[in-house]
Amino acid sequence: MNTGISRPEEAGTDNSRHKELDVLALVCNWCTYTAADLAGVTRLHYPAQVRLIRFMCTGMIDMRYILSCFLDGADGVFIGGCHPGDCHYLTGNLKARVRIKGIRPVLESVGIPPQRLRLEWIGASEGKKLQEDLTSFARVIEQLGPSDYKGMNLV
């Protein structure tokens, strides 16, 4: 996946570069992406290191996308979908949930702590929740520091 994270001039596993932590937010078009729009409109700021990637549905987020994010140097991956019952595609969000549940132990086993991957339900009207969730996630990632896989150029 071309996440555009790694910038040649920043390569390496320099722990001092906390400010350069990368958080990718894979969000669903209908709910969470709209919430992000709303957050923008309401002038709610979320941390600058978060990059939003829009999917039609969290149910189309392949486990491999998540792996790619981490191997490509992401320090945190945030997934935002519709609340259960709200999915535009009925159960996409629930599929995302079980997939994430399944991939967390894989990530944890290979040195990517589960806190680096978070799933939140954020409805289209919940701009505020988007801000809160992304902020708190970014804070957790800041505390964890750079990912072990950062700069390994494994993809």
Partner: protein, 365 residues
């Protein structure tokens, strides 16, 4: 299993079991049998399909080796026409793989009479060939020679799931003097039908069996704990993981040998040929070039992500690795964590749904 019967082996347990299989064919309980057999000039017993009772003479149902996992072939053949019922002699890990394949629509369990084999472990293929040169009756000796048993495949040494489950009929070897007797166990249903056809009389199960099983299990458990904690520690950092898989040749043997990896062609093997030069070019500039084929870490992680829930711990992946990467150790370690998290055990039950298809609205994120 509820019913147990002892059969006389007269010094050759393998032969005694073969005869039972032949009788199943004679009684038309099944129309074919899948069982390991080494047909000259081969010395390595391989999965073989037979339908003539007379041919059972040449089979080695108890041979302590599995050329490849028989699950793959048993699964494929079970999808054939309904009217041909097949008996398959399978190791516990093979049955587990078969159950997983059944859930993925790759096997038709209804067409099979599954005969499980209690498994003290299997020898690596090359070891089996080598040891056979030195031991005329390797198949029989293996069961009484602890030294031979200690040479089983590395994955088997720490396997705790050595008793067959979900079989219709079990061949019991633990705690028995195979030169005298072997055991057959069964439950109600197709197993009992078969037992009736074989004229097996239910009897008392010898007490030594329980003790033998317990002792093997505790020995295996401590071995397993040791292996797992070592590999857990190693792979739990990017450098540790890299040190293990750095020499991966990208041969995809592990994927092909894996009985539960059911894709006709792995997405990663395809990608290895489809890599986008432009992208690689950009990336190569970042840190000291890029290894080709790229994406081997991605390959292993993908396989873990896709199949960790279904890993049955057979160790075939390690066995086939040309440069001895302990693939199975990595896999089993991750599988243990994954299956625990998903409250799932690969091969436990054909009824247990694949966890990734459980879209329940219950529970939280």
């Amino acid at each position: 299993m509820h019913n147990f019967s002892l059969i006389e082996t007269r010094g050759d347990a393998g032969k005694a079991v073969s005869m039972l299989l032949a009788r199943l064919l004679e009684q038309n309980m099944v129309q074919a049998v899948i069982v390991p057999a080494a047909v000259p000039p081969s010395v390595l017993p391989m999965t073989r399909l037979l339908n003539n009772p007379a041919d059972l003479d040449q089979t080695s149902p108890l041979a302590p080796v599995a050329g490849v996992s028989a699950a793959t072939q048993a699964a494929k053949i079970s999808r054939g026409p309904q009217e041909i019922k097949i008996a398959a002699v399978l190791r516990p890990c093979e049955i587990r793989a078969l159950v997983e394949l059944h859930k993925l629509n790759q096997a038709q369990l209804d067409n099979l009479l599954v005969i499980g084999l209690e498994c003290p472990g299997r020898l690596e293929n090359q070891d089996y060939i080598d040891l056979q040169d030195q031991n005329q009756d390797l198949d029989q000796r293996f069961y009484r020679d602890e030294d031979l048993q200690s040479r089983i495949a590395i994955t088997c040494r720490s396997c705790i799931d050595f008793l067959p489950e979900n079989a219709h009929l079990n061949i019991c070897v633990l705690g028995l003097d195979l030169d005298q007797q072997a055991g057959i166990a069964w439950d109600e249903g197709p197993g009992a039908d078969a037992a009736r056809a074989l004229e097996l009389k239910p009897g008392q199960e010898p007490g030594e069996r329980g003790r033998a099983v317990d002792s093997l299990r505790s020995q295996r458990e401590s071995a397993r704990e040791e292996v797992m904690s070592r590999s857990r520690e190693t792979i739990s950092s990017s450098s540790g993981l890299q040190s293990m898989i750095a020499h991966c040749l990208g041969c995809f043997n592990c994927q092909r040998a894996c009985p539960v990896c059911f894709c006709r062609e792995c997405v990663c093997s395809r990608e290895a040929f489809e890599q986008n030069l432009e992208m690689l070019h950009t990336r190569a500039g970042r840190t000291g070039g890029i290894r080709l084929p790229a994406g081997m870490t991605m390959f292993h992680l993908t396989r873990l992500a896709h199949m960790a829930h279904a890993c049955v711990g057979c160790g075939q992946c390690s066995s086939v690795c040309p440069i001895h990467i302990p693939v199975a150790d990595i896999f089993r370690t991750v599988a243990a964590a994954t299956q625990k998290e998903l409250d799932y055990k690969a091969g436990r039950s054909p009824e247990e749904p694949i966890p990734h298809l459980n879209f329940s609205t219950e529970g939280d994120q």
